[in-house]
């Protein structure tokens, strides 16, 4: 029997899946560690980073364990690239309704899966979605996009906003640095997500490795929809790439300048104090959202200057899922309903 969640389509008759999260049981693909979570915390939506979905909102960040990729530079390798069997003692057990209740306790507007690949925990996430929907809590995720067509559609049902990692633009890159044969399913799925939900795309850049592919990536995104936000990440040499060069910020900035013509919502971050984290109006280039970056999941909203999602100068619409959400929106909601302080 084959697992149909990711494009590895592992044969479960010969053992557990590559990610270590699925196995065959009585003719069905079942989760080995259902409803087990590696983290839960309250953070800013910009820290994920989502820049064009519910800006300013408070998100509950969750993750599980295991991944279908083996990126040589994985920043979360200590949890994502370990066998899930070996990290169970760090996991939290939350039934789906309890996880959603926790998001409410923390005053979160949304729930975002971002530690490892959500495809390895889709059945659990589908259950969470049921309760999140009832509680009017939207869900988002970061994904590597290497899912089957069926699983991709399932993800688009669970998540109303998705951040897809497009880590390079060649099979050679994915073969050497990620450990899969072909980029094609990822490109296919980005198109699917763009049809079905809000999409942002992230590309980690490694000096002298995928630097030359950036313009091709920009062109690919532009051809789907130029309004898709593109985040270029300055990759820190981590995991199995310690000792590699730190990407040069000046050179990267120069290289990305030309891509701005293709993609108005282009960002370059994962370094402290980046100049590239503000949203500019695609028409008049006025700053419409100012942010502050501390690198490594430290981004935050500074000023939202487009309260009706339009440029305050020329009234051009700014692509956005939802609009600005006050940090304490959920607490205020609860207090207005006469409830206790969360």
């Amino acid at each position: 029997m084959k697992c149909n969640y990711c494009e590895r389509t592992c044969d479960l008759a010969i053992g557990k899946s590559f990610c270590g999260m699925f196995q065959e049981e009585k003719g069905a693909v079942v989760e080995r560690y259902p409803d087990k979570w590696s983290t839960y915390s309250a953070s800013r939506v910009e820290s994920v980073p989502f820049y064009h979905a519910y800006p300013g909102s408070r998100s509950m960040i969750i993750g599980t364990a295991g991944c279908n990729f083996r990126c040589r530079y994985c920043a979360n390798g200590f949890i994502a690239c370990q066998s899930p069997d070996h990290v169970q003692e760090v996991m939290y057990a939350f039934a789906p309704e309890k996880l959603v209740a926790m998001a409410q306790k923390l005053g979160c507007h949304n729930i975002i899966f971002n530690v490892n690949e959500p495809a390895v925990s889709l059945p659990s996430l589908l259950r969470v979605k049921k309760y999140a929907q009832k509680a009017d809590i939207p869900m988002g995720c970061l994904t590597n996009g290497y899912t089957t067509e069926e699983a991709t559609r399932m993800m688009a049902e669970i998540f109303s906003f998705v951040h897809v990692g497009l880590k390079g633009f060649s099979n050679e890159f994915y073969q050497k640095y990620v450990g899969i044969e072909s980029i094609d399913p990822i490109l296919r799925n980005i198109n699917t997500f763009a049809d079905l939900c809000h999409v942002e795309i992230a590309s980690p850049v490694i000096e002298d490795v995928n630097y030359h592919e950036l313009h091709e990536i920009a062109q690919f995104i532009h051809d789907i929809n130029p309004s898709i936000p593109w985040h270029v990440f300055r990759l820190l040499p981590e995991h199995n790439m310690k000792g590699s060069l730190y990407p040069n910020i000046e050179r990267m900035s120069l290289a990305l300048d030309s891509s701005r013509k293709l993609l108005p919502y282009i960002y370059f971050h994962n370094f402290v104090g980046s100049d590239w984290v503000n949203t500019l109006c695609p028409h008049c280039t006025s700053a419409v959202i100012n942010r502050f970056s501390l690198g490594c999941s430290g981004d935050r909203l500074d000023e939202f200057l487009a309260p009706d999602n339009t440029c305050p100068v020329c009234r051009t619409p700014i692509a956005m899922l939802g609009t600005k959400v006050a940090w304490d929106a959920k607490q205020a909601e609860k207090q207005n309903q006469g409830g206790q302080r969360l």
């Binding site: 003692e89 300055r234 040069n248 100049d275 006050a326 302080r341």
Partner: protein, 397 residues
Amino acid sequence: MSLAIIDAREWQNQFDLETGRKKQDNDPMVQMVCRVLSDTPYPGDVDEQANAWVTRTALDLMDAYHPDLVCLSYVQQFFANRHFDHPEDIREKSNGAAMAEARKFIQASGYTPVIVGTGGLVPLEGEMDLSGLDGLAICSNWSARYCGIHSPSSKDMAVIESLKSLGKIEAMVSKEEWITLFLSEQPDLDIPQDKGLMPDFLVAARQGLAFKTLGTTLRKPINIPENNFQIPVYTPLGTVEDLRDIKNLIRSNLGRHKIALILLEGVGLAHFPDNAFLCKNGVGFFCNEPGDAFYLTLSTGKHQVFAYPAGYRFFDQDAENIRFPFSGYMTSLPQNTLALDFPGKSIAVGNRSMFMHMVFGADIGIECFARNLFNQGCMAVVHDKSKYGPGPKGNMR
């Protein structure tokens, strides 16, 4: 206005420390600090050269600025031993290397040392998972020992009581009892934070155990701080009985000595010179873990357990437009710190990020900029340019 200079390797930018807005300052002192930053890229929190980076950076800065007071922190051994499963001999070697690095600095600088250890680490024996409480359990500031409990149900209280009866929890106090405990030792205790966001109860684990809750780091620790109610100090300047007394000891000797206050995190008495002594760290059941409260208590001479309290609902205040965005939890410059109102020159250098530049109030601070061990580069903060000028003490290279 204080200036922050970020160095992310081959790229520098300047910001107003309080607002985070970009700012350009071409003052010669700022230029000197920029040069020191670019000359000494940070190797990373757990890199074996991380402590040598502190020494090298401090000496380089001293060469140009000639401070009267130097505050240093050496933390590589704490990060490495907390997160990685090194054999005991390697752990001991890294603790010894930290002390050797401090000695190297003293020898090279000739400054009179005040060396303070935060105490040793012990293996993590187990964790108490309080994530399932009806209320909310929060560990913060990398704390292993303390957990704040918000709005507990009677069922939650029974869970805590049962852990207590098993000897896993040493103490459980209400917010009021916690405050009263510290007020009894320090009547002018400062509680700058919103008491409403403090936990209703604080619980303390017995040595070797940690809590597993909201705020627990994703990287599981291998070793955690001992319950260091006493911490080692070495100095030829005299003895003190309490961590809070070190500030006065230093300030009263600064006219006669150039002094280096050196913190060694995760290092206990065994690695200190023979004539080192122990001093008190905390009140009642509460001892400071390595972190901002320890640093602030040392620097201000007053208990600072409520500056950024354990178990605080810190995320409720994480909205936009925050002040001091480079300074972690801190949203204002701490007052009455060791160097803030000292008329002589001072610097602070260390591989503790986010609060080195705030807790000592030194004229210039240089620290690594790392988040959860990810190396983002370095940051310098120039608080006071007025002390820099031409002449024998102000020459730049």
